[in-house]
Amino acid sequence: MAVYILRRLAQVLPMLLLVTFVVFALLHAAPYDVVDTITTPQMSEETKAAMRERYGLDQPIVVQYGLWLGNVLQGDFGYSLASRHPIAEELAARIPNTILLVAPAYVAALLLAIVLGLIAGSRRGTLVDKTIDSLSGVGIATPSFWFALLVIYLFGYQLRWFPIIGMHSVGKQGDPVDFLLHFVMPFLVLVVAFFPELARYVRSATISQFSQDYVLVQRGFGASRRQVLTRHVGRNVMLPIITQLGLALPILVTGAIVTESIFGWPGIGPYFLTATRSLDYPVVLAVLLLSAVLVIVGNLIADILYVVVDPRIRIGAGS
C-alpha cells in the first residue's frame, strides 16, 4: 500500500509542475500585466519600469517561474501584487470560510441525493421515480447563479428573512444566530447546485444493482423489497458514493466560486475572481496550485478508499 501511494505521488509531481508552468506562461502571454492595473495614467514610463523591475517582471519567464517555485517549496506563496498582502495569510483566513459554507452544503446534498436516489431507483418507472428524476433533470439545467438571484429576491428583498450579503453583520462577529442567518441562502443555493447530479448517480447505481442476480435470488427466498434495499442494494450503492467523497475534495475550495461572489461570502471565490481580473499572478497561481493539489490528493484518497471500503477488492488485490 505504501509503495502504491509513493508511486502515485511520484506521478503527481510532474503534473503539478506542468499545470503551474502552463498557467505561468499563459499569464505572461497576456497583453497587459499587473503593473498596468495598479498604476495610474499620470505615472511616468520610468516609474512603471522601476515597478516592473522591483516585482521581477523584467526577468525572463523561466527565471521568474524558478523564483516562484523556489519560494513555494519553502512554504512562501509570496505577496499579492495588487494588495501587497501575503497570500498565505489571506488564504488561511479565507479557506475556513469557504469550507464552512461548502462542506455542510455538500454533505446535505449528498444525504438528500442518497435518499431520493434510492427511493427513485428502487421504484423505477413509478410516479415517484419520474418526479424525482424530472426534478434532478430540471436541477441540472438550472444555472446556479440564476437560482441564487431568485432566492435573493424572494427571501432577501420580498420576505426580508435573511441578509443578502456577507457572512456577518457589522459588529456581530462570532454571533452564531447572525452567522446562520447569513448562511441559509448560499447554503440552499449550493445544495440545489450539488444534489441533482448526485441523485441521478445514486438512482442509476440503484437501478443497475436491482437488476443483479442476487436481488432475484433474495426475492426468490422471500425477502421483501425493503429488506433487499437496506441490506444489500443500499450497501452496494454506498461503495461508489464513498469514493465520490474523495473526488469531492477540491469542491471544498473551488466549488462555490460563483455563489460566494454573488453573496459576498468572504471565501476563496471573490479573492480568486478579483485576482484573475487584475492578473495578480501569484494569487492565481496559488489558488490553481491549491486546487490541483486537492484534485490529485482527492483522486488518491478515492482510490485508497475504494480498496479499503470494499472487502471484495481487498481480498482479491494481491498484486
Partner: protein, 292 residues
C-alpha cells in the same frame, strides 16, 4: 487517474422491457416537447433580423416598465424593449452553444479516434493528457483562459470548445476500441485501405450515434458555461448581450425589476433542459436499436 470500465448489463436490459412501454410514452412526450421548444427558440433566433424587433433604441422615459402589451417582457434600465433584447441574447447564447459544441466535438472525435485506433503508447499519452485537463476544475481553467484572451464572442467559443472536449474523447475512444476489432474494419485494414480512410469511412459512421449523443450534451454544457462566464463579466461584452450577460445586468436592478432576471434564466433553463431531454431520448433509441 481513475478509469471506469463500462460493461453492458444484459440483465438490466431484460428487466427493463417490462417497463419500456410506460417509460417510452412518458419519454416520447417530453422529447417531443423538447424538440418543439428548441425549434421555436431556434427559429425565432434565426429570423430575428426579419422581425419588427428593436433591441438598441433607448428611451429613458420608459425605464423598468413591467411586461405589457407594447413590451411583452417589459423594458430594461435604459428603456430598451426587453423582448427584443432577449431574442437577440438568445441568438448569441445559441451561437456560442452550437459553435463551442462543434469545436469540442471535432477535437473530441479526433483525439478519441486516434487514441482508440492507434492504441498502445499513443493511447496512453493522449488519455493521460485528457486526465490532466479534466483534473483541473474547469471553472478555474476557463476563468484563467478568458482573462488571458480578450473577452468577447470568439474568445468564449474558443475557450469553451478547447476545455470541454474530454468527455467526447473518452466516449469516442471506447467506441473505437470495440469497432477496431469488428470484421468490416479489420477487412478494410487487411485489403490495405489507408488508416485515415478506414477511420473516416468505417469507424466514424458506426460511432455516429455516440458522437451525436455526446454533442447534444456538450451544447448544454456550453450554454451553461457561457452564461456563468458572462454573468461574471468574463464572457460576452456590451453592447453585445447573451442570456448570461442580461442576467449580469439584471442583478443590479433585482429589487426594482425582478422580471429582468427571471426571463433569461427561465430560457436558459428550458433550453438546456430540452437539449438534455433530447440527448436522453437519442441515447435511449440508440441503445434500443442496438439491442434489437
Amino acid at each position: 487517474m481513475t478509469t471506469t470500465g463500462t460493461t453492458p448489463n444484459v440483465a438490466a436490459v431484460v428487466d427493463a422491457t417490462t417497463l419500456v412501454h410506460r417509460t417510452r410514452s412518458f419519454r416520447s412526450v417530453s422529447a417531443l416537447l423538447a424538440v418543439a421548444f428548441l425549434v421555436i427558440v431556434g427559429a425565432v433566433a434565426l429570423i430575428a433580423p426579419l422581425l419588427p424587433l428593436d433591441p438598441t433604441t433607448t428611451d429613458l422615459a420608459i425605464r423598468w416598465q413591467p411586461p405589457s402589451a407594447a413590451h411583452w417582457f417589459g423594458t430594461d434600465e435604459l428603456g430598451r424593449d426587453y423582448f427584443s433584447r432577449v431574442v437577440y441574447g438568445g441568438r448569441i447564447s445559441l451561437t456560442v452553444g452550437i459553435l463551442a459544441m462543434a469545436a469540442a466535438t471535432a477535437i473530441g472525435v479526433i483525439v478519441g479516434l486516434i487514441a482508440g485506433y492507434a492504441g498502445g503508447r499513443v493511447d496512453d499519452a493522449l488519455m493521460r493528457f485528457v486526465d490532466f485537463l479534466s483534473s483541473i476544475p474547469w471553472m478555474v481553467l476557463v476563468i484563467v483562459a478568458s482573462v488571458f484572451l480578450k473577452p468577447g464572442l470568439w474568445t468564449i467559443i474558443f475557450v469553451i470548445g478547447v476545455f470541454s472536449w474530454m468527455a467526447t474523447a473518452r466516449l469516442v475512444r471506447a467506441e473505437t476500441l470495440t469497432l477496431r476489432e469488428r470484421a468490416f474494419v479489420r477487412y478494410a485494414k487487411y485489403i490495405g485501405v489507408r488508416r485515415e480512410l478506414v477511420m473516416w469511412r468505417h469507424v466514424v459512421p458506426d460511432a455516429a450515434p455516440t458522437i451525436i449523443v455526446a454533442a447534444t450534451a456538450s451544447i448544454s454544457t456550453a450554454i451553461l458555461t457561457e452564461s456563468a462566464l458572462s454573468f461574471l463579466g468574463l464572457g460576452i461584452q456590451p453592447p453585445m448581450a447573451s442570456w448570461g450577460s442580461l442576467l449580469e445586468t439584471a442583478q443590479g436592478s433585482l429589487q426594482t425589476a425582478p422580471y429582468l432576471a427571471l426571463i433569461p434564466g427561465i430560457l436558459i433553463l428550458l433550453t438546456v433542459l430540452s437539449f438534455n431531454v433530447l440527448g436522453d431520448a437519442l441515447r435511449q433509441s440508440v441503445s434500443e436499436g442496438g439491442a434489437s
